[in-house]
Symmetry: D2
Subunit: 375 residues, 4 copies
């Protein structure tokens, strides 16, 4: 079997100097749950409305304590390049509160997933006093090269399935959930995750990242600084996108148990750019590079009364620096994991998006001094 | 008939010193089309999924020349308070381009309308080279006090109907389209519009505004500076919302034929706050006060080649000041028109949202020196 | 004496429905100190470098506990129109921390005041561990119509004097400190202040505002909704600026003891627009309408360690609404106070900026139903 | 002489795949002029007010056609981390116009340079109608480790000297002008520059970058992806800053002759993050990472009348992608040039900031496959 996929660290690739959490996943942040619903149907020629379908939905729950509307967490948003959609951002920008789970899907299905999240919330949770309305957070990247995106195959039940399937523990990566039909640096892309845990001296906080990676040109790909994309040319692995301008998007979700305020979450979100830049993301014009960071370290922000403020915790400004490093490194490694774990997928009109070949990758890394020199 | 509605100017109320355009509507900006689809169904007790339904969709086309994706206009966004949703903003913030029509509906139906706009665009327009994807612009305000909002009664066909019905000429106001179930300052609210035309010396430009008004407390309402809300108390006209905190939202769409760049559109959008503030909007916490301004004065922004820039026009900074005045005044009057034109509506559980009583309004205006003193 | 000035409330003008604090001043927020240094020198023709000089510096201390660098408060910034300067904003936007006092002066003296604040901080405070650097906050409006602004008459000692003179208690208003040479709605403007205190049920919080008002056209002036500027024409009080486009700026400082986070301060700052709009500010192109809000309700934000977060307090989103009303109303009244308290000033080339005539003002208010009708 | 400095390309280091302009400097953008004033005075122990002094001022003129106030260019600003100061940004954010030259100096001297720029403008230029005021752009990084920063040694005449000395042609790099006392990745830092020229097919546009680099930890330094900072340890080159947290700032000025609008300039500014991230910048908490981009491709933006718009040019969205690549690559190389060109400097209290040793650098690059493998 040539397509045995491995995560970056299993290949000897380590990003940065900080240690990952036990799962090296966003779920290392306590309480976070991730669920995927993968939709694969049909083969052959595109018939809009029929398929082939290579898409899905991924849901990230910021905690395991029921309704996020009732029990929100602080969050902050940043966009490197805004050629994409993430609903719910106006309220996050205003209040600093994430009041829903975060769903990620394909570009044409943002709406159906968004409305379904309103229905889901009403169906699944019991409220003392139900909120009048919800403003769900749904991001997207475009999978129309492999999937019948204009057939609108994602239905409310797919959001329900992904949300219900969400669990803590290891996270499936690669061609799953929202990442099913995605490409990255002209290899197969999709879902990736990673985490970092700071030393006790620096607070012992965990930062976890999950990406849906669907961006980038072959030539720009660098892994731990090595120009992998220049070394594994189109002669070795055909580029599925040589026929057109290579754009595409990446959604990056960052989570931490460090008790951060909304502004501090926004600062964390902005550091996703650092990790993305090191892998080769330029925020191309056609790309929606949308980043959302949240902190699970404070809760109860709907609980206070005007005359009885609630109490929360925060960290002094200088404590942000190691969190920035953790966020940048975990973002970088999450993208590399997406590339290393994604399997080759054939979709619409027989088009094939090829997985990054791992043996060649290791060979290139060795030629550029990785493994052979002082680290 | 007690409920003969009239626009503000027909009642002797004039806002500001600038002249409106011939229609005193957003359609005074050449090429703009507005369409409403109103959905009214059922009476009596709320049965989620069945009704009663008092909702709809309103669509504003920035021009009459086909696909906005292919032929975008410059636009800019501002939010006074972000407790609301407007999809498509990430791309407007990034590129300065409005690449779709603007739809307005209820809070729970943003998603279905958004995805339907993607389908509509593919169904109705023929492209030389179809864009890979669309990022439609859909705003919302909450009509759940009068309508079965969680019944998801808006369907793709309603978006199609509103988009197809769009026309230049006079614009229906009040309890129509997206404004069907809305309240404003604890009277019946909904759709309102107004415009201003600058003198030839100031460029002769037109600024048009359309609002979907669903915000505000009774006490805060002022019309042309007169404290109408304090004068027409709950004893005279019952407040439909006394039972709860009064929040709610307002979407303000501003359009001009002045040839503005995206940054300049953003400046115009920010001035919607001025008009809203004068009527009594405070941007309450629960309100989504989302403003979008666009300029029809430049076109062809997808047409250039990297080495062959396209040519556009703009105005010097100082020329913005009269446009700001026009935008603020037209926004103020559009809200007053929504109030004056909206008819009393009874919806869910027999709740009634009462129209602003026009005779009493005129009486109050007179007592506060309007009509009697030097203008 | 024709020029006996009175504050708005002494003239029977009350803005909004909330009660002011005991001083009706920003100093109603406990700990806040305000100091003015007024520089008036010379008469007659302008000789750049010599005078006449009509300028000054105003300093607002967010607390009375020494170095703000060591003991910052949360803050947030908003600009309605950015034709102005406020230094130190990049760091406030980033960290949410106000780490210096706030100084306001004329446009050409921002630099000298800013650097002097660095020196002052080192001279006046003893640090356990001195910060490497300071990023002082200095705002400005333009007084070049009355003063030899290009003569650079503000010197470091003036900042020292204003900072040292700062005190709690009543605040001098009108043609003092940074407001000495300012105009507002084509009357004499300058410094104004006001406050609101919420009921115990709403938390009992105080919101205080201080403005340096130097903006606006005569025709646009409204006081409590009454079109005062249209009623007191140039025939009654000459307009000092009819010779040119009327622009100019306003700095609005908002303070509260409500325990707000940086994002919440930013929301408060944005509401300054509401009050300004109601008086007649449009954010004209030439205007620097820059607003800074801070909260004294949390302290100790430099004190935590990465592993030992500090504890702060905040309010739930819904508690913001009454604070918004307080901020808007206090901003409106602070501007009216600046107008009512400013005395006529003659400066460069014998130009005279006339005070708003208070008897005429009261007469106009009466004609428009104020005092005579139900409030 | 051991300290023969060379630029990166002279050492065989090339960043990215695009070609630089003839000078590989920001001055490859036609019309741009750069001037430095370097202030070096005294040795030995720090006596505040006396020295030693290792500081200066660097001025970038966006064109060679006189007053920038009268003849502005479009510009956009972005900050990765806001622990720094750049004056004049409120107006750039508002209007999209850069209306002054750009000066860079030390943190404590921003004010004096800013006010001096107002005086300079009045002294050097003749106006038909002089603008009422100026809002100069002055950025800073902190040189207090090597220089008596709190002695305020920069005077107005230093700004005059740097502004007058500005010239097109090659740009002095390293320990000069504003960069005299700066450190970068715990080596000596300062001024660096680079450029890229797009192919004729992509428009033939030039993007130039100038940095004042004063940020970063040793361990994080990467040059063309090679972990140079990990390889050249403190045992080989002492770290001047091991005694404290390593923060610091970087100002990045980006210029292009591509005819971009303000929004598009902002997009270019945001890409400075990409280049900075690849060298090892994380936007640490203590860092002011402030980026300003401008376009010389449009002029005459003060010239229009309200009724007679001026004409400008722009590029379609897709044309931005190659400009982004150029901006990121030139920013990366400009930083590397700063490191490669800066000479060892000894300052306050005998502290020495060591230059990056170029032979060791080349040795490390070779060990990591650069020069030996397919590029």
């Amino acid at each position: 079997m040539t397509d045995q996929r491995k995560r970056a660290r299993a290949l000897g690739i380590t990003i940065g100097r900080l240690e990952p959490g036990p799962l090296n996943a966003i779920t290392d942040v306590a309480g976070i749950k991730v669920g995927h619903e993968t939709i694969i149907r049909g083969d052959g020629d595109l018939v809009v409305g029929q398929g082939p379908v290579r898409t899905g939905v991924t849901v990230v729950w910021p905690h395991s304590d029921g309704s996020v509307a009732q029990n929100p967490v602080y969050a902050g948003y940043h966009q490197l390049n805004g050629n994409g959609e993430m609903t719910g951002i106006a309220w996050i920008d205003e209040s600093g509160l994430l009041t829903s789970a975060v769903a990620i899907t394909n570009t044409a299905s943002v709406g159906v997933v968004r409305d379904a999240m309103i229905a889901y919330d009403r169906d699944r949770f019991v409220y003392e006093r139900e909120p009048d309305f919800h403003l769900p957070v749904v991001g997207e990247t475009y999978d129309g090269w492999l999937s019948d995106i204009n057939g609108f195959h994602v239905r409310p039940e797919h959001l329900y399935a992904a949300a219900d399937a969400a669990a803590s523990g290891p996270v499936a990566e690669g061609s799953v959930g929202g990442g099913t039909g995605m490409n990255c640096h002209e290899f197969k892309g999709g879902i990736g995750t990673s985490s970092r845990r700071l030393s006790a001296e620096l607070g012992g906080w965990t930062v976890g990242v999950l990406v849906q990676a669907n961006y980038g040109s072959r030539h720009a790909l660098r892994i731990d600084g090595v120009p992998v994309g220049r070394e594994i040319g189109f002669d070795q692995v055909p580029s599925h996108l040589q026929e057109r301008i290579v754009d595409g998007s990446i959604i990056i979700i960052l989570a931490t148990d460090a008790p951060l305020l909304p502004d501090q979450c926004r600062r964390i979100a902005r550091r996703a750019t650092i990790g993305l830049a090191r892998v080769g993301g330029n925020g191309n014009n056609g790309s929606g590079d949308l980043f959302l960071a949240f902190s699970t370290g404070n809760r109860g922000m709907m609980a206070g009364e005007p005359g009885a403020p609630f109490t929360i915790r925060s960290l002094p400004p200088d404590a942000m620096t190691p969190l920035f490093e953790a966020a940048a490194d975990a973002a970088e490694e999450a993208i590399v994991n997406a590339l290393c774990m994604a399997t080759t997928v054939t979709g619409v009109n027989g088009r094939t998006s090829h997985a990054l070949p791992l043996e060649q990758l290791q060979d290139v890394m060795g030629r550029y001094g990785r493994g052979a020199v002082r680290r």
